[in-house]
Symmetry: C2
């Protein structure tokens, strides 16, 4: 375990120079003779010298690192966002530190503490489906560390947010189902604690109302997004006296699970029952029948969020803006509806 870190002192000794001179070279300052500069650079290269960012961070109170916390990594949704965010961050000279909270509140809290302890310059976060208390996030505000929400946001905090127009997306999906002649449209909704679930539910209801259809609470099921539970709810819906002829699911994993269950039951999709999802996950175009879904500009969410965060970092606390960017969705019609 005897790590052998090469330090400025090492190369200063070797070259019979003072540490400050070496430091000047390494930080790109000008006041150094060409000869010493080259000698230092050469030796540094030869010894695989790497600056110790811990020391620099300690001095400068800036780590050039942003943290990204996502609730899960199992669908293609969050990985894609992370890729886009990382790209923007790298471009701007920032490193990224990720963690995934596994949809667990405690893990999320722990993750934020780690980020805090590691002195990130700002964080990007999408909360878990469990998160109801936001104290661990408000700490960032108090400490003057910018925080930007994306996708799953915290309503009570006045900070930048990047979301999509969930209401409109849901509205369009359901409106389309109605226009296609569907009479009883069920909604497999997410937990009410998540704003995205609530907005999608509202879009669903609004579309029904606009088309003068009754809102049957029996057809609205709110669940905690654990895909393994979908089977129960589908069974329930199909056993209703007056079963639905369409299902609008809160997200693609739910819709995909529903398709598989319904197919196994021998029902035809979309003839007997139509399905629409939300997010246009990678798998939605692969499953049979391919899934009609509300597409989100996933990469744009990630890059916009990173952009906002970096702007915020470069701004003075007193000048923070709490903009909320609402990106547009697009209904992609495939074979499941």
């Amino acid at each position: 375990m005897k790590k052998h870190q090469v330090t400025i002192i090492d190369i200063a000794k070797e070259l019979n120079l003072s540490k400050s001179t070496v430091s000047r070279v390494l930080t790109g300052h000008a006041n150094v003779s060409i000869k010493t500069r080259e000698a230092v650079l050469e030796l540094a290269e030869k010894l695989d010298y790497q600056k110790n960012m811990l020391a620099i961070g300690l001095i400068s109170k800036k780590t050039n690192t942003i943290g990204i916390i996502v609730p899960e990594f199992s669908s293609s949704y969050f990985p894609q966002i992370v890729i886009a965010a990382q790209e923007v961050a790298t471009q701007a000279g920032y490193n990224t530190v990720f963690s995934q909270s596994n949809e667990t509140y405690e893990t999320e809290v722990a993750n934020t503490k780690v980020m805090l302890a590691n002195q990130v310059d700002g964080i990007l976060i999408s909360i878990t489906r469990e998160t109801r208390n936001y104290d661990h996030l408000k700490v960032f505000e108090r400490k003057g560390i910018p925080i930007v929400f994306f996708n799953r946001v915290c309503d009570e905090m006045k900070v930048p947010k990047v979301i999509v127009d969930d209401f409109e997306g849901a509205f369009n999906a359901v409106d389309y189902l109605i226009k296609s002649g569907r009479k009883r449209i069920a909604h497999l909704a997410g937990p009410a604690s998540l704003k995205i679930s609530a907005n999608r539910l509202e879009g669903y209801k609004s579309a029904l109302r606009k088309n003068n259809m009754v809102i049957d609470e029996e057809l609205i099921i709110s669940y905690n997004l654990e895909v393994s539970k979908v089977k129960i709810y589908i069974n329930h819906l199909l056993s209703l006296e007056n079963p639905p002829d369409a299902i609008f699911a809160v997200n693609d994993p739910t819709a995909i699970e529903a398709i598989q269950i319904i197919k196994k039951k021998g029902l035809r999709i979309p003839e007997d029952i139509a399905i629409i999802g939300f997010s246009n996950d990678y798998a939605s175009d692969l499953i049979a029948p391919s899934l009609t879904t509300v597409a989100q500009p996933i990469s744009e969410i990630g890059s916009t969020a990173a952009q906002l965060l970096i702007e915020q970092i470069n701004r003075d606390v007193s000048d923070w803006k709490a903009v909320t960017k609402v990106l547009k969705t697009e209904l992609i019609i495939r074979n499941s509806s």
Copy 2:
């Protein structure tokens, strides 16, 4: 940008104590009166005090952080590995820092430098399809920082590695195709620079040989894993005078792309042509027809690699072991073959 970090000094002043006393409480040392201990703890909590890990890392030369570098994040493969590795690391008290190199050598090199500069205690890496030079990785060895490879390994380095039995997996897949009566089996292979590609190719050839079939180089196509290129090769294979009646693809994304292209051409799978992939990605069970594939114990790869790395970290450099763990694959037969 005026971050307001709370330090030990702040709470020492407030309580009229010395920094060392406060430090003792915070590090859990014993020699402190209950009264002061409680006062310190209470104030720390109230002020949202968080230790500055930069300072601690600087002193202890240990950050309790491991780095994970993966080539891409677009399939479900690496995210799953990362989840498993992170879980083991967390359990052992380590934080994780990820980065993805986007299948680009330069990015990989940059990522390793960042990890080095941030003083990770060890790294887990799967190299890009481009990586041919390993100097940036050998630096870790020289500096006494443990490195563990998984999936895509570097042959010339004597360090721990976690792989699956690619040879056997490929052999079983091709052997199964032959037993099912396929006569001309093509192989869409990966780049020769990746050991996994080479091993899978060898497994393919070996199965043909064992069954006394000729190895037709015309049917073996090595490509760089850019899925968009698959179309070209499929077109080529199908236009052969004596086209293949089966394709063994080096991985699932390739196989899935192939299925889509072949379906569009109006050919039937598996009647006209059978397809087998490798890895059992999330999507392979969803696509129609569902994909026969060689499953890897993905989570186990991640957890094993993390395990090995942590063992290595806790060992003295002089006592490093260069074990290579070879995990078993399993052929999952679905409808594409």
